[in-house]
Amino acid sequence: MSDIFDIFLLEAVLNGLLLGGLLALLSLGLNLIFGVIDVVWICYAELIMCGMYAVYYLHVQYHWPLVIAMLGAIGIVAFLGWLLHQFVIRPVLNAEPINQLLVTGGVLFFLQAAATLAFGIEFKNLGVQLPSVRLGEMSFSAARLIAFAAALGGVIALWFFLRKTYLGTAIRAISQDRAIMPLMGVDPARIFAITSALGGALAGLAACLLVLQYDIHPAIGLSFGPITFLICVLGGLGNMVGGFIAAFIFAQFIAVGGFFFAVEWGYVIAFVFFIAVMFWRPRGILGK
């Protein structure tokens, strides 16, 4: 009896790990944008929603092979991120933070309403059924395994990009001293535009992984937008390492809490933990 129990607990922990990878990827783009541009994209999850629709239409409607459709979707959301920066963020770049929050909040409702008009309210899915992978007594969804691997790959690729390339170094530098970037021969407006496209591409990658597991509808952003936020805040807004750690902590609460009680309880425990941490460290685990 206790053996079986242990196996299921282990399965829950491992599933939590897989979920953590996905949550880490979700938080990555938002953290990048905040860390570099100092603006919170409240509408981040709605960009992901657009990416999910893009995969759906390119694959189901236009019969692109799934992988090509996903690459196309990443490109589309990267473009949306760039548009968002050029036409919404740039005019309010030096405005009060509350105004920046409100405009991106406006974009959230705009995208939701536009998606409802354009795509309707019925649930859509790719119709791709990925098998479960069995490992002894335990079983894992292949979609989650793929998501975990891709999320980890994305995180590592971004890390190398930010550490090892001129452009990546400039992206880190601009968040530390925007005013002297021209003295390095760097056009700050260009770096911001590239960073926004990169944040969009990360949202697009998240969309590709979510669309394997979830149905698409115009309000789907609401089901993981808030948790993405809380993870970023828990880790320390703008701190990518903190967000990474926080994603795995949150995922364990959800998975293991869900194992002992019910999935809903897992969320309840995770949010109680979040509130407790906010009392203890208001700026997040690794916040300054």
Partner: protein, 232 residues
């Protein structure tokens, strides 16, 4: 090499620089000296286009800088070491140097060696986060970062500010060596006695206007400078 003619500049409604004219020839080390708030930093910021001049002209190597955006000035061969060093505090020393080479990447490895030869201390500290370097090391790193672009003209804004007296000596020694290597240098300083030992010529800036110019020896000997600035 650099010709500044009747340059006016300021911040918003406040004018900090009035009809300033000066010249820097290739291979020369020139200082702009003057008290706090005279407009020295404004002058350098206008030359590197961080600030758009309201009137006057700037030519470098015979070409006007008027229409150039700030981020295109480095590629023309002007590197600016800003006031207070302004390193990127959470990047390592070497990553700061890499930012300096942003516009001239093909020569990065070669210039890195040159810069480390000039500042051996930086090689020891290269993986250290810049914010944790000492004041003198930060100033070296800031100068090295500017040299990474392979400039024809180096603008130095108060390299001795905020440093301990012993360190100030070594920074001026470094400036002397940089001049000796053939770099053309325009340096802005409050530490008048020290800087006049390093440069060939100097301009005295007071309340936004250039009021005197001459060789370093002439200015050192000028009675008004001795009285007002050297306490003789």
């Amino acid at each position: 090499m650099l010709a500044v003619t009747e340059l006016c500049a300021g911040y918003g409604g406040f004018q900090a620089l009035f009809d300033a004219s000066l010249e820097v020839n290739a291979g020369e080390a020139v200082a702009v000296i003057g008290p706090n708030g005279a407009g020295k930093t404004t002058l350098l910021r206008a030359i590197s286009k961080l600030l758009t001049p309201s009137a006057g002209s700037l030519t470098f190597d015979g070409q006007s800088l008027a229409r150039l955006p700030a981020h295109a000035v480095v590629a023309r061969g002007i590197a600016h070491v800003p006031e207070n060093r302004r390193l990127f505090p959470r990047l390592t020393a070497e990553e700061n140097l890499r930012m300096g080479a942003y516009t001239s990447r093909s020569t990065y490895a070669e210039r890195l060696e040159q810069v480390y030869a000039l500042f051996p201390r930086l090689r020891e500290r290269r993986h250290q986060v810049a914010g944790t370097l000492s004041g003198g090391e930060q100033q070296m790193c800031a100068i090295a970062r500017a040299l990474m672009s392979g400039p024809k003209l180096l603008l130095l804004d108060e390299p001795s500010a905020g440093l301990a007296p012993v360190v100030v000596q070594s920074i001026f020694e470094l400036v002397r060596r940089i001049c000796a290597q053939g770099y053309t240098v325009l340096i802005v300083e409050q530490n008048i006695r020290q800087v006049l030992k390093v440069v060939n010529r100097a301009y005295l800036l007071e309340a936004g206007r250039i009021v005197k110019s001459g060789t370093a020896a002439e200015l050192l000997a000028a009675p008004e400078i001795q009285k007002a600035y050297l306490g003789l």
